[in-house]
Amino acid sequence: MSPAKRNGLLQRLMRGRTAVIGVPYLWLALFFMLPFLIVLKISISEMETVRFKDLIVYADGVLRLSIKLSNYVFITEDDLYFKSYLISIKYAAATTFWCLFIGYPFAYFMARAKATLQPALLMLVMLPFWTSFLLRVYAWKGLLSEHGWVAEALMALKLDGPLQQLGLIESPGLFMNTPFSLLIGMVYTYLPFMILPLYANLAKMDVRLLEAAADLGATPWVAFWKITVPLSKAGIIAGSMLVFIPCVGEFVIPELLGGPQTLMIGRVLWDEFFSNNDWPMASSVAVVMVLLIIVPLALFNKYQAEAQEVKR
């Protein structure tokens, strides 16, 4: 290609480039970034009877700025908020742990299955995605209620005693609206989000490394911990963040499967907004929630970007 022609091409590309980048960029700035700034603003404004006050009011030749930080003071002082933040983090962490515990071996054996079988196995993990999440969570309500399949099976296996001792259920035979039912629902919903990045990571691992380790005398168990696990670090972190972050703010699952002991922050925000109609308070709760997940979010973005760089 001659330099002149290349320049012309570049110019044409640049013009198209502005439009291609600009449209989604502007759209996200307007509908994703700006709303956050507005939430931040409202969280420090005072509530009037119907609408919240403007931050800056110009009246009688005086510019008045009214900022109200009492919402944040309230959040730190009132037990309810603090407790529900703790409960959210606790359940999000527990969900992440169980998803990793079930999902890692699952992804590992998927990645080591016959190559011809793998697309079908992968498809089977993705298929539940296509059926409504709401309906699948609702289904657990039936499975865990009295006479439900899973409830009956747990009773037959005499597992309700140990579950009660662990504090996951309150009384034998009653599984619904307990920490147990909440955990089952969350692990169930988020398991594919753990399996998929782990599988993507484990499937591209060089198996020859394991052979080399075996030749050098490592047992499969040692090779697994010294080679496979460290190499899949990016997948573990991506999957864990993909589970942990949305779990912190989960609303539908605690509402349908959780009980009074499991008041998570998503439900608190919802109640502030829909029941109390206190928008500034709901905004403050949201701002604090964002602060909680900002570090995991940054981690997720970093490993997401790294995974994409590796692919190229």
């Binding site: 044409r12 198209g16 609408r51 054996f109 498809m123 995605f129 709401l134 289904a139 703010g249 609303f251």
Partner: protein
């Protein structure tokens, strides 16, 4: 792998799949349950399907949800393709990190935050500009935000796998950028566009939280109807709706993957033929 590990692996996978599919199976089976106690089996019946046909609220919700899902899927694929194109083809531009972050954040951001912030912005906007009224349009905007993020991931994965030489060859042969996109790039990413469309369609059809924040009077989507009933307890009408949706979605997904597999075979045949050269 030794024998123990092999059987352990099979067992783990098997139990995992049972865990993933048990609720779906239970939903379908219990939609035929003829018993006053919803969680106890009491014989076969079709009465819940008959009741569903009369259920005005649910059917109106379904129709609204399908409409919103259709527009969401179309919008998400367009915006998602543009975003994926920007991220893959243009390695450097001002604010790329912020852009990449904003694209993928809705994937993990708790929906209550996205819903609340978008609603508060739309309310402010309405106060200044007099529109948009809370309702179908605002729900669509919310779903579009979520759908775009998913569509971007799907299309981006495909664009990264493409061989850029094909596009370069087309440009060398004098094709304009738009022509290159329409005649070379688009056919190659068509199946990822189809999967992105289907994925965002089902996401929108399923969404509760964003819809609850953004809906207004008269705009009650099907998930909102289902959710308000599920909060009150078990309701066999939900099982009947669930079964209908599962059947429809399965047909859609199977048809789409058949289509994609067929196209893929044809493409690889064409490629093989092109590499053999004229005979």
């Amino acid at each position: 792998m030794n024998l123990v590990a092999k059987y352990f692996g099979r067992g783990w996978l098997g139990l995992g799949y049972v865990f993933l599919y048990l609720p779906i199976l239970a939903l379908v089976i219990y939609s035929f349950n003829d018993s006053p106690i919803p969680s106890k089996w009491g014989g076969m019946t079709l009465k819940w399907y008959a009741a569903l046909a009369e259920d005005r609220e649910m059917l109106a919700g379904l129709w609204l949800s399908l409409k919103i899902a259709f527009y969401t899927a179309c919008g998400s694929v367009v915006l998602g393709t543009l975003a994926a194109f920007s991220l893959v083809k243009y390695r450097r531009f001002k604010g790329r990190t912020l852009f990449a972050g904003m694209v993928s954040a809705p994937l993990v951001m708790p929906e209550v935050i996205v819903g609340l912030s978008l609603l508060l912005m739309l309310v402010s906007m309405q106060r200044w500009l007099g529109f948009p009224e809370r309702g179908t349009l605002t729900i669509w905007l919310g779903h579009l935000l979520l759908g775009m993020a998913y569509a971007t991931v799907v299309v981006q994965a495909r664009l990264q796998d493409l061989n850029p030489q094909l596009e370069e060859a087309a440009m060398d042969l004098g094709a304009r950028p738009l022509q290159v996109f329409a005649l070379v790039t688009l056919p190659m990413i068509a199946q990822s566009l189809l999967s992105a469309w289907l994925l965002t369609f089902t996401l929108s059809l399923d969404d509760v939280v964003l819809s609850a924040f953004l809906s207004g009077p008269g705009a009650t989507t099907m998930p909102l109807v289902i959710f308000s009933r599920a909060r009150l307890g078990l309701s066999p009408s939900i099982n009947a709706v669930a079964t209908v949706i599962i059947v429809l979605v399965s047909i859609g997904v199977i048809a789409a993957s058949y289509l994609v597999a067929h196209k893929e075979r044809q493409r690889s045949r064409d490629l093989a033929a092109a590499q053999r050269g004229p005979t």
